[in-house]
Symmetry: C2
Subunit: 305 residues, 2 copies
């Protein structure tokens, strides 16, 4: 079990119609590793500034996250401020200060290079490729991306895709990348660009998996208590990869792969539904593997036909 | 098995990014009854004008639809013309001619008054109530509605809701009716207004069922071949009610009710996914109960966790 995540660690200021949070711990690697810690002891690579408080580091360390790869650089930590609209599905970015993350050039600690499960959180595809170059023998590589890279670094992204087992991408990005307006066609088209499977995320509507084993629908867990959608996608990925890392021998080609991946997506779904029930990581700090498993059972029941 | 639908029979002219259809048979009662005919012999009540061609009537009659309740009045048939946007989720109404449907005052043939399963397709709630008054002993009543009635006839709608077993309503309408911005809260709030269960439709994302037995998610079948979304909602309802009518003794309160309703929604989902694969009723005229059952199996597989 050696799950590596490389991504952002940030301060988020969040406004929603129902409340707000100021400078709480955020960033893709924070959400991902916190969630994955319910299954394994993830390794985190990221960068923060001198303003990053010890208590944030402790929050992740206390969950068993290996923080050897979190470096502190002169300057300030990545800062994002956003405001969600009434429907919670759309948001405006009010402020972005990349700070030390703007020149993030991840160098893996020697002890991380043997990692088997790799999650390349959203970053420039060239940076994601450099991370991959530093891993000696990965067995399952999944990356996330965003519209910005499709627009300004498409050749780099296209070069990265065949090196991936899985790509996590949202609906509008998949359409942008492929030029397909039908979501199902877009998902298949992304897969033809290289990754063995595509996790197509649809926000509050869940996700669709496109894989060699077929197409699978993964509806969201319908929570009545959505407070802050920030981090839902990275929590989903953290649940998927965290669960997969518990059976490291089950990779594409293994007879149990299809079943295992679907079970992993169910975990990702229910944990993401918890993340959004609080601001930042708050709700996750108040859950347990037992509650997660119990929500997983409720989810299975909701889907029974 | 006596399933009654009261609703519109229309000519639709449809434009999509990939094609168009001119004056094809449409309307809620047409889609509903055609779909339901794969399970039972539905009874249709509606009105058309003198321009309604015999071949349209035959299309439904040949499927076993009882057309005793389709009256012809002086004037023209209801006409709708619409254009779908690139994403197929939104559309503009280009033209509406209510014609004879504008004064639709449904009178049930004597032979229809003993109907047990009733679907009140979208119409003014006062008209829906008058239909219900004419049925002697219904065992399951489901109605559809739309934003227009919430805006101009809310008191009538609120008076109708407690008389229903089920209400079919889409996401934005549920939010409008309840003032809730969270879809799950909105669904529960609609149910508190009277109906025993609420089918909350989310277009290409499927539906959520709110019922005494709990909340169930019903994702859409991911079709790569969406040509024309017209009629998807009424097809869904036709599949649900058609299947339910095959076991008329299973109504709310019956021990098998929850299971049966979920199975019915699965049928509604896969049939709706076929409807949208052609213009108007075209795709449905080329399917069979066997193909429907085979897609149902594919759907179950796609949802297996």
């Amino acid at each position: 079990m050696s799950l590596l995540v490389v991504g952002s660690v940030a301060f988020d200021s969040i406004e929603t119609p129902d409340g707000s949070a100021d400078r709480v711990l955020g960033g893709s690697a924070s959400y991902f590793s916190y969630v994955a810690s319910f299954f394994t002891k993830p390794r985190l690579v990221g960068v923060v500034g001198e303003d990053f408080p010890e208590q944030n580091r402790h929050l992740l360390e206390a969950r068993g996250v290996d923080m050897t790869g979190l470096t502190t650089q002169p300057g300030k930590t990545f800062y994002w401020k956003g405001r969600y609209h009434q429907d919670m599905n759309t948001r405006d970015t009010l402020e972005v200060q990349l700070n030390v993350f703007g020149t993030f050039d991840p160098v893996l600690p020697e002890s991380f290079r043997d990692s088997k499960h790799i999650f390349l959180a959203n970053a420039a595809p060239s940076v994601q490729a450099k991370v991959l170059d530093q891993v000696t023998a990965p067995s399952l590589v999944v990356a996330d991306t965003m519209d910005l890279w499709i627009e300004i670094a498409k050749p780099d992204l296209l070069a990265l895709l065949p090196r991936l087992d899985g790509l996590s991408i949202n609906d509008s990005e998949a359409k942008l990348l492929t030029g397909e307006s039908n979501l199902v066609r877009a998902g298949h088209a992304v897969r033809r660009m290289g990754p063995k499977f595509v996790l197509l995320k649809k926000g509050e509507h869940g996700a669709i998996l496109f894989s060699e084993e077929g197409t699978f629908v993964v509806p969201a867990f319908p929570s009545p208590d959505v407070l802050d959608p920030t981090g839902a996608g990275d929590s989903f990925a953290g649940g998927v990869m965290g669960y997969l890392a518990t059976r490291p021998e089950v990779v594409p080609g293994h007879p149990e792969w299809g079943t295992q991946l679907r079970r992993a997506m169910a975990y990702g779904t229910v944990i993401a539904s918890m993340t959004v029930e609080g601001f930042g990581l708050d709700r996750l700090t108040r859950t347990s593997r037992q509650e997660i498993d119990s929500r997983l059972e409720a989810y299975r029941h909701m889907l029974s036909l």
